[in-house]
Each structure stands twice: as structure tokens, then as C-alpha cells.
């Protein structure tokens, strides 16, 4: 059984068909990429998988369990975590608290234990703090745990988003353009981080990315979307040599334009 199975999902906004009949398989401990020109429906596909939008049709199965129609928070608790293309960290909480917030749904102490500082609260807060520190350590943000997230450089904010997603204890991690805005050395570092996560956690990763070096280096399999529809899928080598994909990206070769 595949870790994540997306079965012909579709979504229209008014008259615009954003995603049409898109299917995808993600195996256990797999890294798969989604590429495509701007506006191809990649982020919409992510939003459908993570429950931000309701599906018009189709099905999403996580380890065989049907997630269709569940709320966003229920899908996350079932094991699908994500990061955002435009970084969405929590203002008013420091770096550590941003990560702790993602782990909070696993704390079971109730409101009375909270407002009267009872034992279970203290224990679980301590556990959560340790766990979150561990995730910060993985992405290399531990020394900055008490900083304000807005004061971090862009590359570190991206890493914080990944630490926060890890804190939800996911089986599937959706990364939406995680390397956008990073400089070349940060991109290299990021590729190393994903490889480490892939090795150390039982995690299946789905990446949307425009930077081909990231996709080609990390992904076992690639799906290409264009105008909301699947254009091609295959191994990185297949995709690189695929005529249709090149055309979608840089347009058809026009004989007259060729010198």
C-alpha cells in the first residue's frame, strides 16, 4: 500500500479549472516532486491534499485511510504536514513557541490544569519543550530558540517552517517551494537537510519547486502539471528528455525564430 494516494482530484474556482483529474502516488520513505509553469495548479493541489480547499471530486487516501472531507486540522493530525510558499510563521510567538504550537495538539492537559498550573500541565509542557528543541536542533535553529521569528533571515525562516511541520509528527511532508528565495549555498544546505530528514525519519516527502537542481537531486519521481492537468510523469532523466515538458516551460520551438 502506498503512503499517500491521490485519486483523480479536481477543483474549479468559478469557471477556472485549477486542477483537473490529478492522481499521484507517494510510497513509504519516498521523495516525489511536482513541477510546472506558474499557475499550473501545483499549490492548489497541495491545498487540496492538506484540506485548505474542499475537493470537487476525487479521493485522498493516507495509508489506505480516506481523508476526503476532513477538516484541515484533522488531516494534519492524521499525518500530513506542510510548509507554505509565502512563509507563514506565527507572529507574537518566539521561534521555540512557533514549533511548540505545532506539537500542542498532542498535549492532553485541559483548561483547568492549565489555569491552575497542575502537574500534568508542567510535565507535558516540559516534554513538548524538549521535543520542540530537538526539532529546532535538527534544522540548526536551537541557538536562536528565543528569538523573534520575523527577525530571522529568510533562509532560517524557511527552516523554522520545516521544524514546525516536523513537530506535528507527520508521515507525509508537503514542501511548497522550499528553496524559493534561497541563495545557492543555502540551496545546497537545504538539499542536505531534506536528505537527512529522509534518512532519519519515516517520512514521505512531496516537493513543489522551480529550481531544477533541487528536484533533480532529490526526487525519485516527478509529476509535471500544466494548466491543472498532468502533462507527464517519470524519473528525473525521463522528464529532462521529455519534449512536451520543455515546450510547456519555454514554449514551442518556432522554426522561423531559429535564426
Amino acid at each position: 500500500m502506498n503512503r499517500l494516494e491521490v485519486r483523480s482530484i479536481s477543483k474549479a474556482f468559478g469557471g477556472i479549472q485549477a486542477v483537473t483529474d490529478f492522481s499521484l502516488d507517494l510510497r513509504q520513505n519516498d521523495i516525489v516532486g511536482i513541477i510546472g509553469p506558474n499557475g499550473a495548479g501545483k499549490t492548489t493541489a497541495f491545498n487540496l491534499i492538506s484540506g485548505v480547499y474542499k475537493l470537487d471530486s476525487g479521493k485522498i487516501l493516507l495509508e489506505g485511510r480516506d481523508l476526503t472531507g476532513l477538516g484541515q486540522h484533522q488531516i494534519t493530525r492524521a499525518g500530513i504536514a506542510r510548509t507554505f510558499q509565502n512563509i507563514r510563521l506565527f507572529k507574537g510567538l518566539n521561534v521555540l513557541e512557533n514549533v511548540m504550537t505545532a506539537a500542542d495538539p498532542y498535549s492532553s492537559y485541559n483548561i483547568f490544569e492549565s489555569i491552575f498550573r497542575m502537574g500534568r500541565r508542567k510535565r507535558q509542557e516540559e516534554e513538548n519543550r524538549e521535543k520542540s528543541m530537538h526539532y529546532l536542533d535538527i534544522v540548526g535553529l536551537k541557538p536562536l530558540a528565543y528569538e523573534n521569528p520575523e527577525s530571522l533571515p529568510y533562509g532560517l525562516q524557511r527552516k523554522l517552517e520545516i521544524a514546525r511541520a516536523l513537530a506535528t509528527n507527520p508521515k507525509v511532508l508537503l514542501l511548497d517551494e522550499p528553496a524559493a528565495g534561497l541563495n545557492p549555498s543555502e540551496v545546497g544546505e537545504f538539499i542536505g537537510l531534506v536528505k537527512r530528514l529522509h534518512r532519519d525519519f519515516d517520512l514521505s516527502i512531496l516537493i513543489i519547486e522551480h529550481r531544477m537542481e533541487v528536484i533533480m537531486e532529490l526526487c525519485r519521481w516527478i509529476y509535471v502539471l500544466n494548466f491543472g492537468e498532468l502533462l507527464a510523469s517519470g524519473t528525473p532523466t525521463d522528464i529532462q528528455n521529455n519534449q512536451e515538458v520543455t515546450e510547456a516551460y519555454i514554449g514551442e520551438e518556432d522554426e522561423e525564430c531559429l535564426l
Binding site: T76, L89, T101, P105, S114, Y146
Partner: protein
Amino acid sequence: MDLVFSVITFTCITLLGVMGVFVVTGLTGLFSFGQASFMAIGAYVAGVLGIKYHMPFPLAIAAAVLCGLTAGLLVGLPTIKLRRDYISLVTFGFGEAIIAILNNSVSFTGGAMGLSGIPKYTSLWLVVLSAALCIYIVANFKYSKFGRQCLALRSDELAARSMGIDADRVKLTAFLLAAAITSYAGVMYGYYTTYVEPGMFDWGVSAEWIIIVFFGGINSLTGAVVAALTLASLPEILRFASEWRIVIYCVIVLIILNFRPTGIFGEYELFAKHGRTKTSKGA
């Protein structure tokens, strides 16, 4: 001396009201323009029980807080699913509805004439202790998973849901905690003044509390407490300026909006455990 005691008592009662608003508006970002109606519920329920049924004070408190919670549940359940801007409309409507009910059920509440003859059980020490306990409770709330989740929701609801936070439930929890605190404040109020009338709890009171929270800094409990203590006691001390209170508030709000959009204290906390002492630079 009596004047000083009375100023302290009223200030502490306002502080209780402000704590409720701090939880709902400061931490969770929901504008409740009907918060004072929970105070009305607390004051009237406890007052009627005390006058007509001679119910002992602690029992009257419990009954009033329970009624406040029930009302909170009735308004909260449908409203939390709404968009933020509609929440302020609904709570505003709820507040005005409560006042209309109090005005019209003359046989029970005395209508616009008010309810008089409530026993005077609220003592200076009781309100001071209540205010201190309330600050303790709200501080514990803020620095627990609930407070973090509220702040996360206020900052970015979509991201918060994506991190597995049950937004509706967290909002309802904050709303109910605030309802309980505010109805308790109402009991204190009624049993101190011994006389209540519906006009004392209109939306202007709720708006005043919100102003106090913004004045202090929406994310700062320290700020809310300091602002409540100063803004609530100042007009009493400077009696001659009391007619100008609204004018003074408006000027304060304008000055703050211009120069310190995050309030005097921003995110600063006096007893913050780690870091987070930097005041935010404003939006």
C-alpha cells in the same frame, strides 16, 4: 479613605473586565463588543438570587458564573465559525439584546428603574484578591498550549489550522474563559454598588475595555494590567476631568494609533521566562 477604597474597588472590577477582553481580543483577536453584557448577566443573576431568594453569596457567584458560561456557549457556538469582522457585529447585537431583555422584563429586573437592594458583600479585600487571582489565571492561560494556540490563530488562522490546531475549539475556550471572568466581575460590581441598571452595561463599557487592552498592548498582560489600573482609576482621582473621559480616551487612541500601533507595552511582559522582552517595533 472611603473614596480611596471605592476607587480601588472599581479599578479592580474594571481590571477583571479588561482581563476577559484581553483573553478574547488581545490573545485570540476576536473583537467582542458585547463583553459588558456578561457583566450584566453576572450582576443581575446574582442580584436577583440574592434579593428574591436570599441565596448565600458564594452560591450566587457560582450560579451567576454558570449563567455567564451558558450565555457564552449560546453566543459562542454559532459565532466562532464566522469571519472575524462579523463576530464583532454578532457580539454587539447580543450585548444590546441582553440590555433590551433587562429593560423589558420589569417584574424580574426592575426594568429601566434598575435593581436595588442587593446586599453589599463585596469587600475591598475580596476584589483585590479576585483581581490578583484573575491575573494569575490569565497569565497561566497565556503561557500554556491554549495561549500559544490563541496567539497562533490571531496571527495566521490558516497556518494554525494546518498545524493541527482545532481553531473553533480554541476560540470557544477563550470565549468561555472570558465569559466566566466577566460575569464574575459583574457579581462583584452588583454586590458592591447594591444597585444596577441596564444602562451601566452597554457597548460603551465593552469598547472602553477594548481601548484599555489596546492602550496597554494587545499581546501584553503586563500592559493590560497597567493600562486598566491607570485608565480606570485616573478619572476617579481627577474628578474634574470625568466629563472629559471620552474625549481623553479618543485622544489617547489617536495618539497610540499614530505613534505606537502595538500599544504602550507591545509584547513586553514583566515576568516573561525567556527572552521575548523586546518590545515590538510596531506594525
